[in-house]
């Protein structure tokens, strides 16, 4: 297991390198440059040239690329071209909010989706099953920004139960959780739907297995058969969905942060793209790619915990 973990961990760096390289090329191909955007129409040629020189943007692209790789190898993600602050401090200011939001969405999706899928499988073709299927289809079909706006209008605007914007007061758990509720629900909806459907399908398959019939004939309780023996087997494909869905959730934070006016990595990334802040775009991409890779590594390790037959060598 340890060897497997080390081998998988060693793949993180080449994966992130590939992502960063692709983004580096793409972001430099987009029309416009940060000096133009930042200085606006009042810029003189001399000022624009001076700014590009200060940022190293007058160097050939391959020189900029290798300079950048050398810097990130030493832990220096650079300085934001637009704000002048270090990329690390920019990310540090907003990453906790995004992390809370993303993890909350994943937690909601799994803690609601898995039991819902189990019940749907247990009561296959009953009204519970039909409601679960229709609800999940509706959630898959509904864009998360639309759901976010509806939740905002209903629970904040009309009922006044929950706050509308921001992340709350750090250190006050009630404030943080109340500000997290609506955005997390909106962000989790799509993943919850997929988790529900996959759990249902997987459980239906597992419940037909011979070992389940054997357990039943031995008098094992239904509760134990479902939640202890069958679910564990059914969760393998569900974990795959969660791993891939985590990427969707990370991408969805951009829209949800905009709707709920929350600071976050998503908003930072969008502002960096429109402002042609190459440094921040790459820093955000490194962070998002690292988080995504780590989540999937955790998912792979969970496979082995769930199924002892899986051995990593």
């Amino acid at each position: 297991m340890l060897t497997y973990m080390l081998r998988r961990s060693s793949l993180i760096i080449p994966t992130i390198w590939a992502v960063v390289s692709i983004v580096f090329v793409v972001v430099h191909l987009v029309p416009g440059n940060p000096a133009q955007v930042l200085l606006g129409p009042f810029a003189t040629a001399a000022r624009e040239a001076a700014m590009n020189k200060a940022w190293g943007l007058d160097n050939p692209l391959y020189v900029q690329y290798f300079d950048y790789l050398r810097n990130i190898a030493s832990g220096n993600l650079g300085v934001s071209l637009l704000s002048g602050r270090s990329a690390v401090s920019e990310l540090a200011a907003v990453f906790p909010d995004s992390l809370w939001l993303g993890l909350s969405a994943i937690a909601l999706a799994t803690t609601i989706g898995i039991p819902l899928g189990v019940f749907a499988a247990m009561f296959q073709d009953s009204w519970i099953d039909h409601v679960a299927l229709v609800a999940s289809l509706l959630l898959i079909s509904t864009p998360d920004f639309f759901l976010g706006i509806v939740l905002l209008l209903v629970f904040s605007g009309t009922l006044g139960w929950l706050p509308s914007i921001g992340a709350g007061t750090m250190g006050d758990p009630i404030s943080v959780l109340s500000h997290l509720a609506l955005p997390a629900i909106a962000l989790s909806a799509g993943l919850l739907a997929y988790v529900t459907r996959m759990t249902r399908t997987s459980m239906i398959g597992v419940l037909r297995e011979d070992f389940v019939r054997t357990a039943q004939s031995k008098g094992v309780s239904r509760r134990s058969i479902i939640w202890k023996h069958s679910l564990r087997n059914a969760l393998i494909p569900v974990l795959s969905i969660v791993g891939v869905g985590a990427g969707q959730v990370l991408g969805g934070t951009v829209v949800i942060e905009t709707v709920f006016a929350r600071a976050g990595v998503g908003t930072l990334l969008v502002n960096a793209i429109t402002g042609r802040d190459y440094v921040m775009v790459q820093a955000c991409v490194i962070l998002i790619a690292t988080v995504f890779v780590l989540i999937n590594l955790a998912v792979d390790l969970l496979y082995a915990m769930l199924d002892p037959r899986i051995e990593y060598v």
């Binding site: 987009v30 029309p31 416009g32 133009q36 955007v37 200085l39 606006g40 129409p41 009042f42 810029a43 003189t44 040629a45 624009e48 934001s80 637009l82 704000s83 002048g84 602050r85 920019e90 200011a93 907003v94 706006i149 905002l152 209008l153 904040s156 605007g157 006044g160 706050p163 509308s164 914007i165 921001g166 905009t258 709707v259 709920f260 006016a261 600071a263 908003t267 930072l268 502002n271 793209i273 429109t274 402002g275 042609r276």
Partner: protein
Amino acid sequence: MSQKAWAKLGEAGYNAHPVGTGPYMLKSLVPNQEMVLVRNPNFWGPKPAIAQIDMKVIDNNQTAALAVKTGALDIAQIDPVTAAEYAHVKGVHIVVRPTLGRTDYLELNTLIPPLNNVLVRRAIRYAINYPQLIQDVFRGDAVAGYRGLVLKGEIGYDAAVNPQNVYNPAKARQLLKQSGVSLPINGLFFATYNDSADIQAGQLIQEDLAQVGINMKSTPLERGTLARYQVAVTTPANVFGLSLSPDPNLLFSLLLVGSAIPPNGLDTARYHGIDTLYQQQLNAATVAQRVKYLKLIQERLGNDVPAIDLYVQSDVWIVSNNVHHYTPSTEYNGDPFYLVTMSPS
């Protein structure tokens, strides 16, 4: 501003750590997201009544308006369409302030055929339905722009030579016929901003022009790409939104005086028709002389049409009823910050 701080921190550093003598100090800043100001205890003037001002950047007007309604914000600047939805909502009120110079211009490239034909440019000006634009996009909180591009209230404004633009599609068609250009005119576009009001306005302008035989496509672009189109020689037209001072020289030097425009300036028009008059009014010995040249400039711009002043917007604010007597400055453009909360002393 502190010269010492500027020299020590440089421009980028100073922007993150400003040093000044105003009534408020910067407490914290998350660029493009949030800014917190606190009262400056060493302020030389009267003590400010408000101890702390939190400002948040909120891109979505609906979110901002809802935040004011729920009490998360005290004040927000929003678009007129959203304001109309909240006009009768309990707990909030709408404040509208006509601004001096928050204007959108459609700048036309005077070198590209058929826009190099002045009759075509005049036809475009007549073809745009200003009243409908103002009603549909701004719910009436704007006025039609001015032929001579100098705005009412600015120095030298002369209503006799610089009336407001009028919608006259019959006149537009007549001018196009006189121009000798074959219709329909195809292959043109104008770049514009990609926020909802500009997209909607662009769509309406595109439809108005199509009705007289000019197929000029509205092309909303994000900020970085728009910056490229603003300086490209081949761009037929651009929409620019500007908030200008009471002096029209800022408009001239930014858009219309070829010799004064910086390299990244908004020189879509490639126009030199008022270069000499501009210098003359700049060097005028008296105000009266300057006003005389400004009148000539307005006449020239009205005739040559290197740009069309589409509308002059009002600023619209949604304000919590807990805030009394909120009076934004007519010269203040609050975009992109919205006040979150104001803590009284």
